[in-house]
Structures are given as structure tokens and as C-alpha cells.
Symmetry: D2
Subunit: 132 residues, 4 copies
Amino acid sequence: MHTEMLEAHPKDLGGIDKDKLADCIAACFECAQVCTACADACLSEDMVADLTTCIRTDLDCADLCVATGNALSRRTGSDARLTRAFLEACATVCKACGDECAQHAQMHEHCRICAEACRRCEEACRALIATL
Amino acid sequence: MHTEMLEAHPKDLGGIDKDKLADCIAACFECAQVCTACADACLSEDMVADLTTCIRTDLDCADLCVATGNALSRRTGSDARLTRAFLEACATVCKACGDECAQHAQMHEHCRICAEACRRCEEACRALIATL
Amino acid sequence: MHTEMLEAHPKDLGGIDKDKLADCIAACFECAQVCTACADACLSEDMVADLTTCIRTDLDCADLCVATGNALSRRTGSDARLTRAFLEACATVCKACGDECAQHAQMHEHCRICAEACRRCEEACRALIATL
Amino acid sequence: MHTEMLEAHPKDLGGIDKDKLADCIAACFECAQVCTACADACLSEDMVADLTTCIRTDLDCADLCVATGNALSRRTGSDARLTRAFLEACATVCKACGDECAQHAQMHEHCRICAEACRRCEEACRALIATL
């Protein structure tokens, strides 16, 4: 779907790697949804008081991943400096959220899944930065 | 992924149909991304001045689909009245955006794809409302 | 600022009451920020386990208030049916969040402030619906 | 309101400058709303075809300012590295959006107002970075 939309864009994509871009858009929206769901699952755990940093990092990560996925989905008048600013912030926050969730991955399956989504998104951001 | 996260939730999902819920979450995030991309593709068309209502409706739909996808992803303390409020607004806006994009579907492939994503999301919202 | 931007819009505002519209946009963004802050303050309370429904409702309300504030800020190709769909959902969710926060208002100052922001936003939505 | 909510937070704010933080949160939400409104006002201009880069930058800036305003509003388990990542990206995008809008400020009042909101937000982000 992401590739299909990129191919339907009326303008040239400005030399950006289309496959890595489509991967990164997909990873951002997946990570956003999973982080929102993980924050809520943590909130429903009996040990919620031990998961407050995890919830907070999930919420930051969800917000930034949607903003980044949206910015990457826009190709009109693209500016590599801005693309890089979004991607670097997103990679930094995904790394922190992935590290936080990984600490609870053995106890909470939702944190395990979320840590993986964060890693994929961090890697997709870094792979796209490398092509800019 | 959406089903996997729902199954990892520590609490009972409150009697909501898990498959329809997972479908609706996926449809909301897909529709959000496609509407953001369609608004931008319209902006890059030479005939942008004829597509301003389409761009505006795409932006409204993108915002509401993310809000609805997030609300549906949360299961802690769920309240069917609130779920219904999100779903009814989302179905209304997806219907309007799908109708608008369908008018440009023969001329612009991105509008055709977007009209389909809006229809799928509208139907997923209505299917979930029917189970509440 | 909201009134200033509405007055700078190049098109007629389609007969909507400009003062009530500016009030409602301001109330939506204020409520969004306060709900995000209240969810986080609840998360930092020692009794967080008793505040999970409040946190969840705050998060839903924050998301919908931003989406509604954005939609109201857009006047291009406005459609009263869509404006109404956003406003009715937003009033419903603000009512629920205001009621939930009001239950904790005597114990938590952040819930008291948040209950008031939700009430103001609910009323601003209903006042604007009445003019459509 | 932002200061009131920060003072109602149950935990210590982690040594961050409370006034600069409250200013920055307010500037982020103001800039988000103004950018959304400016994108829509540009869309309604007869010369929309000359404003497509401005619209696109406004949309990116609106998304990132909400994400940053939300992240700053959360004080639970705060991490200065993440705060800095949000603020640096936000300052970069506000700078670019302010520069773009400033080019149209003499012709379009909405771009003049938006350029000012972007400058205020950029400065508030840089002032807060300096205290971290």
C-alpha cells in the first residue's frame, strides 16, 4: 500500500530510495500503533506502578512515530534536512523505547512485541538516513 | 500484529469481537497513512486548485483515523459509549472522504487507492459498531 | 491568535459564528494539552493503580481534541455534517473525561484543572453545534 | 494553565526550568494550531499552486509541534536525551517553516502570523535546550 501510494505520486520522489522509504513509513505506523497498545497493556498490569517509565516512553514514541510517518508520506517540496531531523529524533526515541520495553520482555509479551517494533523502526530510520 | 497485541493484553477485552476490533484498528491506521499521502499527492498535481476540498477532507480523515485507531487500541477501562462516539464520527468522515476521492479516482490513481482505503475503514467501523 | 488567523483566511467562513469557532478551537487545544499532562500526573501518583481509567480517558480525550481542533481550524471546503460529527464525538468524550476527572478533583489538583478544561471544551463544542 | 498543571504534578520536575518549560509547551501548541490554519488558508488562496511547499512545511511543523508539546507535558521518567531529541527536531522544523512562511508574509497575513509563531516556538525550544 505504501509503495503503491509512492508510485501514484505525480512528482519525482527527489532521488530518495523508494523501497527504504516505503519500509520506513510502514515501520513508523506499525511502531506507533504497537506503542499505543503497549502503553495501555502496561496500564492494565497489576504491577503498573513498576511500568510508569515504560508507559511514558511508549506514549512519546507513538506520538513521534505518527509525526515521522506523516512527514515521510509527504513528498511535495521535500527537504533532506527536515527528513533527517525527523528520522534522527525518531531513531533516538525508538532506541530508548525499545531498550525500556526489552527490560520487561520476559515478563510481558506486549513489551516483547513492542521492543521488536521499536527496533525495526529504529533500523528503518537509520537505513533511510544512510541514503539521504 | 494488531491481533497479537490484543492477545497479549493482560485484561479481558470486555466482550468486544476481537477479530473485528483488530480489523478496524488496522483499517484506521492504513486509512490515516493513505489519506496523508493522498493529500500530499493532490498538492503536487498541476490541477491542485481543483483538488482543495479533497486535500482538506483527506487531512480531517487522517487526523480522525489516528485518534480512532489509538482509542480502539486502548482496552483499559473501556466504555462502549465512547467507542461508539469515535466509530460513528470516523465512519462519517471516512464516508465523506471516500465519496470525495471517488470523484477523482479515474483521473488520479492516488485518489482511487484512497477511496478504497476510506471504504474499508468506514465498513470496519460500521461492522464494529454492530457488535457493541 | 485563533481569531486573528480566522480573520486572515482568504475565503468566507461559510456562515459559521466566528467567535464561537475561535473559542472552540482554543478550548480543544487547551483540553488536549491539559489531558496529556493529567494522564502523566496520574501516572506519577503513588495510587496510579486506582487512576488507570482516568489515564485512559485522558489519552482518548487528548487525541480527539487535537483532531477536532485541527478540523475546526480548516475552513476550505467545509461541510457542516463533518463539523458536526467531530463536535458531537468531542463533546461526548470531553463529558466522559470531565466526569471521570471530577471524581478525583478533591484529591488531585491536576484532575480538578483537567475536569474544568473538559467542561469548557464540552460546552464550547455544544455552543458551536447549536449554530450549525 | 501550563504552569498550573506543572505545579500540580506529584513528582519533582527533574531540575528542568519550569518557566522555560511552560513557555515551550505553550509555544508548541500555539505553533501547531497556527500551522494547521496557515496550511488551510494557503489552500484557499487563488495562487495555491505557488504555496505547495509552504503547505507541506506547515503540515510537518504542526505534526511535530503537537508531538513535542505532548512529550514536554510528560514529566514521568523524563530523560534529557529524549527531551533534547524532540526539541532539536522541533527547532529545526520550526526554523524551516518560519523561513518559508516569511517569504510570503508581505502578501499573506496568515503567513506573517505563522512565521512569528514558528520563530517563537523555535526560540522557546532553543531556550529550553540551553537549560538541559
